[in-house]
Amino acid sequence: MIKNKYDAIVVGAGMSGGWASKEFCEQGFKTLLLERGPNVEHIKDYPTTNMQPWEFKHRGRLTSKDMEENPIASRCYAFREDAKHFFVKDKEHKYGQIKPFDWIRGYQVGGKSIMWARQVQRWSKYDFEGPERDGFAVEWPINYNDLSDWYTYVEKFVGVSGNKDGLDTLPDGDFLKPWETNIVEEYFTKTIKKHYNDRHVIYGRCAHLTENKPIFLKQGRGLCMGRNICQRGCPYGGYFNVNSTLIPWAIKTGNLDLKPNSVVHSILYDESKQKATGVRVIDSKTKESKDYFANVIFVTASTLNTNLILLNSKSNRFPNGFGNDNDLLGKYIAFHNYRGTISAEYEGFPDFTTKGRKPTSHYIPRFRNVHKQETNFLRGYAAGFGASPQRETNRDGLGENLKKQLLNTRETGVWNVGSHMMGETIPKITNQVTLDSEKVDEWGIPQLNIDVDYDENDEKMLKDFFDEFTEMYSKAGFINIKTNDNNRTPGNDIHEMGGVRMGKDPKTSLLNRWNQLHNCKNVYVTDGACMTSTSTQNPSLTFMAISARAANHAIQELKKSNL
């Protein structure tokens, strides 16, 4: 018997790796799940989860040391006093920026699923058909029909709160009941419906439990309490993260071997067998190197790290990186354009306010270029929409007067409203990652260099967002409308995708329709690296559906001894 041998090896314990591991373990396959960071056990390892705002030494703010040492991570909205411990610090894992790129990472069991924004929307057929219709990237080898059942499968386990909206641009899923819509969200929804046939304001579908169901009780999860401090980890399991669901589920089967602090160096290839045999792992603490073996390998280390591992897996057969016969590995990286925001005020409901909190806001699915090309830019953007009552506190003056004013804080009856764009960027061969020929990290792995930027299409799209949303806000009677280009660096959207794209033709893509490398069928890539294009939706739900689908394909192939 070979030492360190498993049925399956999964690299990376984030959402995609979590799903692959669950599927393998549930169906009786001995699975090794490797994670380069430490373990994070549900509840036990959420050190700030029950801290009140007044208990934080800096009231949630970052120290100047945090800012100076982490210029990149500190630009992420969730890198604050309460959750910074879940983020990779800038100096710990360096990378090269050929052009400015904020690589926001979470190296731990659960990955970024602990701190994610929890918005989950399905892709539609229009999203999958985009590259072929508009002539960029390559044609997707799958379409919505290939994934719809897997979306349902994932949603039932994850728990997604949503409304059935009946939109073909954003297909409905298996939803739990939504949180209440507020009076201004409702008003804006009706106003947009009155003025536009093709634009819809809907409830933002989110991975939060709003109903008890046996599957969630079995996972040990309770209802979302609307605390809105999810980035700290939720003791109730009210939102979906890998730590409260997939990992304990897989562990319960007795088939999971979870190894944290395991940095994957490369994938091992056996030329005689013409397949991958395992992975080389470096213990992050002792730096000791060890090889593990399996019949199938899932590379789900997060988009750019998956690219890195494959680029670093060189052999006689694959001198330019694993599966990289066409020299396209690491290329066609894309992301989401989050640069545009718009804010305004609304005075229409002066006698109303809200009570409590909800973990989501509203969402406007993409409406540009859906059925045909109609603008001077390709593709389109979705947007969020939120409305909250304004509070007024007079902080002028000094002494007892100032204190009295603070005690007279009140709601003004005016509402703050705002939207942010989520634009599709076009995958281009020039947007790429490569390995540095000299610099290596402390585990001897070459440093990743990132060369990704916006282009003219993104600028035109941004302008369109400002124009269209100014018009929509004006039609709703919103006042003091202000648009803002936040000049966000690529990567700060935390939706980087591609580099190991799926496609029909091995000459122009790396992965087939089942996420197997064209040139090595027992290696699957199912995280963001596999994405051929990005569309506008938050991508995690699609990563999870693709991972579950691919894992079940691998299971069938293993059963047939095809891998």
Binding site: P53, N182, E185, E186, G226, L398, G399
Partner: protein
């Protein structure tokens, strides 16, 4: 040889410990590492001024730490070098002024007027006063009772109502 040196060191350390309580205050002079110019004895000036800017109310609005501690912690930990420099310069300027004018003998209104004047001035004391006010407000507005009783904060709301009459 080594034993002899070791014994000598033990002797010196013991003698030092015996002498120290009579020779100096063992409590460190500098508590906040980025604010070495603000000695422990001077820190109460911060508390004193912030209490005039926004009176502390430890009974109705208790907090984990005193106002003085909070302000100094925030400046020490969250301000970068240039802001710390401005803050320290302002502190120095105000301290000198306070010494000259017997501030403690001023009426409350006179004290407020002095602070207001410093705040509106274009010299470094303006930034100092502005910082005290900013963090006094943050300290007060993030106190448990203020958040719960005046901002309707609920840690675990468990619901969201979207149209409630004011």
């Amino acid at each position: 040889m080594n034993r002899r040196i070791a014994l000598k060191h033990v002797g010196l350390i013991t003698a030092g410990l015996v002498i120290t309580p009579y020779g100096c205050n063992i409590e460190p002079e500098v508590i906040y590492s980025n604010l070495p110019m603000i000695k422990k004895s001077q820190q109460q000036t911060i508390g004193y001024l912030s209490n005039i800017i926004l009176p502390e109310d430890a009974i109705n609005f208790p907090t984990m730490e005193s106002r003085q501690e909070f302000i100094l912690t925030m400046v020490n930990d969250c301000y970068g070098t240039s802001k710390i420099k401005r803050f320290s310069k302002g502190f120095e300027m105000i301290s000198t002024e306070l010494k000259d004018i017997e501030f403690g003998k001023f009426s409350l209104n006179e004290q407020i007027s002095f602070i207001d004047k410093s705040y509106l001035s274009k010299n470094p004391s303006s930034f100092f006063i502005e910082t005290l006010k900013k963090h006094s407000l943050l300290h007060f507005e993030s106190s448990e009772n203020y958040m719960i009783d005046y901002l309707n904060f609920e840690f675990i709301p468990g619901r969201y109502l979207g149209s409630v009459s004011i």
